[in-house]
Subunit: 138 residues, 2 copies
């Protein structure tokens, strides 16, 4: 969890380099901070949508019909607060508001998309594992 975290894929002899849980100090842990944000029910979906192009509030509502107005507002505000998306108000009559992804948002979306690809590619394996476990928990 430290900055020196290395992806060690082969557990040969233990390099035993600590995951450094000593200063995992939640609330300050950037990883949990990120995960808990994108772990929200709608965050990833909105990031995916806005990665394509900017959208207005009402457009987003129509594109993600299952979301309630409340959750759309809240999720957008959270994403904006963290700097992933920007909100621009056009003083039209009636007012319109546009949301667009920021550079920071795009930089997040790059590794995030790789994770999403993994999910797409491997969800069958996961479902299989799950079915097997539910049948006979080892």
């Amino acid at each position: 969890m430290s900055a020196s975290t290395v992806v060690n894929l082969r557990s040969v002899e233990p390099p035993l380099r600590d995951v450094d849980l000593s200063n995992l100090d939640f609330g300050n842990c950037p990883v949990r901070d990120l995960i808990s944000q994108i772990g929200g029910k709608w965050s990833v979906l909105l990031l995916e949508t806005l990665a394509k192009r900017p959208y207005r509030f009402g457009e987003l509502r129509r594109m993600v019909p299952d979301i309630s107005q409340r959750m759309l507002t809240q999720t957008l505000r959270d994403l904006q607060r963290d700097g992933y998306i920007a909100r621009e108000v056009f003083p039209t009559k009636p007012p319109s508001v546009e949301y667009r992804m920021t550079d920071l948002g795009y930089s997040l979306y790059d590794p995030l998309a790789q994770l999403l690809n993994w999910a797409e590619a491997n969800h069958e394996a996961v479902r299989a594992a799950r079915a097997k476990f539910d049948q006979s928990p080892d």
Copy 2:
């Protein structure tokens, strides 16, 4: 978010094409499925730990002191159910149980680690954006 979703990996330039929200069918959405699992408070932490080497239950408890016994058990079972980790019981006296990462778990950990690296590298930017927003919400 459907099975036909194609996530474009271009790390450079024009971000992304279709997301295909038309038939996003939650409950079957592999992405939400994954995100909601690793979105749990302890999943990522345990995956990181077990990516290093196998650990026994008690060792995990000591390495992640904040976790309750209940949540440790539950999170480990969930991760096992999805096939990310394996559980092996040694009929010693008293019994000992070892948890280790599976191949599927390692394959997940690869893209996941990239996301974690992003979090480490950019959490200052996020914190800054957040502070600015809290001071004067645009």
